[in-house]
Subunit: 400 residues, 2 copies
């Protein structure tokens, strides 16, 4: 079922969604000599034109344009499809891509039903094509060093992790072009943006590879932040004045795992203050704290004092980052400190080798399902709800 | 019912429990010129003798000794009773004290049933005598500055708080004299030591004074830390080798409040790493982070950068601490950076003025109940459980 590709040819990509994220990938993809953007699709033609203009800086090769991505999907030179549009487009785009025999990758987002997640899994298994979430934080430098320490057993037995997303998006959501995320925040009370935090944690805990998530329970605080912002700032859409928001300013969730670990997740996109992802990992031999910027390891660290990440990198850098930093690639030119480059390369290389990507469809489905299940738990007053085993038992045999 | 006392006389104290905590109060109480330790009671006579020896350094006044505190309880020169013994003794001691017309204060701890909490409330209301938990963290310098900022409205509307207790007690619990807390950790799976974190948060959120706690849900990780420690260290009680511990290494809890705020609580006493209480407060105008050691306030702080606590103290120090630091009292000579002095003074002054203490019986009952309710939630798989209104509606009228 998988379409064959000539291995010496550049990997041909179709981007579905020419908004902010799609545009932001141009400098990254444009710098990869083995990648070519074959086509871009977006119902808003102005966006496609803007995309073409921006892409010219990097390549003179023509890029096909369409309003409906299906017009470009079956092209022989399309090897993979990137879903870079609004959240609600991600699953339909990936499903169509896999059915057309293409590799599928989705930008981070959320879903609305568990059925969407099962559709991804079922379609992937039927077609043999994978669907990878481009969760860039899995490739962050500190997150990967922590992963390296985990693999070396230096934290001992893992017990607990914390993660989250605190990033005030009030201005972003109510700016000149109201963002699609606004509707989700107005009508849905849940943690809809947890993958930046949970993605790396899934890798540390070996989820879907000898371990799995069992339950999630989510509690929402009251919602005041967006309304407070709209009442005190100039927003483009005046109808937002007095609008009520369903999404609590802070969503606190806890996951349980088959192997007994727990994970605390925090979500806040509507209150002012510094950005953080609250990363933390606790094991029987040490711990990591993103807030404190360091690692504490028994037998290595001084009592009550974290060793800074900077002090740890020389010895414990993840091999992927060590190679990345030694390469001639200008790390800083890539998004979010370089992690965007690495996550895209991981996908591209999977396409080239015709292999499963490191974040596979089971992982993607799991990450997407958590948003829906968070919503269910909140609606039940914080009751724990169960997380499906999207691997249907394969997690027991698969190794990390 | 309240026993009269001559206001010029020193406040006479009976300490029930001459173990580690009781002993540690001697230097603090000994330095207070308006306080006198009248009696000490402990079933273990050696402890009482050690207490008397230590107390001689501060005062030549005689201290009565008994195995059973009831022998000393009705003395006319006992104005107040401090429950400083094992956790399970706190409530019985305070009940007896109140019934004898004495002010009662309890060291931090936990309870085993909601009934114990209601007994405290009922007895206090019947006798008119209060029971104050000596939660020293309520008087911590940074916690009080945050309280000062809250009272000034500088965080805006409060939305969420975090708190916790991460303090590896493996050596402490398995040391020469097995500690009474060990049995609780062996047999109970719950957050039994949350008052250091929740105490200050209760004051920030005005709990029992226009607000109240509604529900708590707790999730426990697996328990590995104590066993790992015992297997790799020399412990006095060899029967602990191979002993299973019920208490998960990490207990994650979330509280909901009547006014819509939520509070995340973390508990870990069995894994290695630096001490922390994870304090955090989020509001519509700013936030506080203990981990980052600072405060961020809209209109005052630079984007994405906390102002350090040190930078904030000159302008925003709580008046109580400002007065404390300007006094001739050697702050550092008192426990835990000075907070122990302030919490004891708050109690002593309530006794002197025959007033309700700032942490009153309703607050004490609430703090104690959370441990029991955490245990119930864990046993129900993390289901939220309800928290009683110990004020029976008075919280609606009382102001902070």
């Amino acid at each position: 079922m998988a379409s064959r590709r000539k291995s010496s040819r550049k990997v041909g990509l179709l981007l579905v969604g020419a908004g902010m994220r799609g545009l932001s990938l141009i400098p990254f993809l444009g710098r990869m000599p083995d990648v070519r953007i074959v086509g871009v699709a977006d119902p808003i033609q102005e966006r496609c034109q803007e995309f073409l203009e921006a892409a010219k800086q990097y390549s003179a090769e023509p890029i096909a344009v369409a309003g409906d991505f299906r017009e470009l999907l079956v092209r022989e030179d399309v090897d993979a499809v990137l879903a870079t549009g609004p959240w609600n487009s991600h699953v339909p785009v990936c499903l169509a891509a896999m059915r057309a025999g293409k590799y599928a990758a989705t930008e981070v987002g959320c879903t609305n039903s568990l059925e969407e997640c099962w559709r991804l899994v079922n379609t992937s298994e039927e077609t043999g094509m994978p669907c990878m979430m481009l969760e860039n934080c899995c490739y962050g430098r500190k997150e990967m060093m922590v992963l390296n320490l985990v693999k070396k057993g230096m934290f001992g037995e893992l017990i607990h992790a914390k993660c989250g997303y605190r990033h005030r998006l009030c201005q972003f959501l109510t700016g000149q072009n109201p963002h699609f995320r606004l509707d989700h925040n107005i009508h849905r009370n849940a943690d809809l943006y947890l993958t930046h935090g949970v993605g790396p944690v899934m890798q540390w805990l070996g989820i879907n590879r000898g371990n799995r998530f069992l339950t999630i329970r989510s509690t929402a605080s009251k919602a005041r932040g967006m309304e407070a912002y709209i009442n005190t700032h100039d927003v483009t859409d005046k109808s937002l004045k007095g609008r009520r928001f369903a999404m609590g300013d802070v969503i606190s969730s806890t996951l349980t795992c088959a192997n007994g670990e727990t994970v605390d997740i925090y979500h806040c996109v509507s209150l002012p203050g510094p950005y953080t992802r609250f990363g933390r990992l606790d094991g029987t031999l040490g711990c990591y704290s993103e807030e404190k910027g360091g690692v504490w390891l028994e037998g290595i660290s001084e009592a009550d004092k974290y060793d800074s990440l900077e002090a740890m990198y020389p010895r414990y850098e993840h091999p992927l980052w060590r190679k990345f930093l030694r390469s001639k690639i200008n790390v800083e030119a890539f998004g979010h400190g370089g992690m965007d480059y690495l996550v895209l390369r991981a996908f591209i290389e999977a396409v080239q080798k015709r292999e499963q990507p490191p974040i596979d469809t089971y992982d993607t489905a799991t990450l997407l399902a958590l948003s829906v299940l968070s919503e269910e738990s909140v609606s039940l007053g914080g009751q724990p709800v169960t997380i499906p085993d999207f691997t249907c038992g394969k997690w027991l045999e698969r190794k990390g």
